[in-house]
Amino acid sequence: MKKVYIDAVDFTCHETPGEGRFEHEAEYLDDNETHVESFRYIPEGYVYTRASDGEQFSGLMVTRLE
């Protein structure tokens, strides 16, 4: 489990706080994960709308961005 800061719009993960980000203890990111920016993390209870086609996905879901 790793503390990350998630963008409230696109759910991308960040190491540091910032405008439009919320703090989250990410159960499915390893403690030693050093590339949190490579992940999109949608916590349970949130819904992510994929920009390319409008498809909606319910959390809890984690995807690599590359």
Partner: protein, 190 residues
Amino acid sequence: MIKLLLLLAAVCSNLKHWLYRLGNEYVSLTGGWQARAWTGNGAVYTATAPGLTKNAGNMVIGMPNTYSSGKSGVVEILNNVDLTPYTTLRVKVNLAIGGCSAVSGADGKQLIYLVCAADRSASNKWTSSSIYKALSQVFTHTSTSAFNASNAEYTLDVSGVNQAVDVFFGLVWKQQAAGSTITILEVELI
């Protein structure tokens, strides 16, 4: 006109592929489906192969153990499939989930995940961010009551997965008062 129809069929065939549907395992693509002892978290759940019964029109995953410690396994395709052309994994299942133990503190649960991972090594856990490429915990049950559902659909965003990967149902079951089954009707890449 015929060429146009053939072209249209070719384009459509590139848009979606079944990995399982109504008894067809699409073996040329998937290699078939199997159950395997591979845990999502070895420190918490014992690696245990779930049951897998292949019927004429469906496949039934069994999580049979009752009043037992946590177990975890997967039902997966044998071949890695390149997900580059696809954006979404969609499954349709029937659920017959047993209630969890009423004993206080038993921490009973049944969890279902959809997962894509390039590394199949059972020495790793499939919930590790170094292993999965995409993961969704699509079903969580902790109630003492049983739960049933027909034609439940779940999806996973695979638009960021641009390589050949294992595609599987990840499963966790612990302190069930009654066994559970997941009947797989369809698995589709879109």
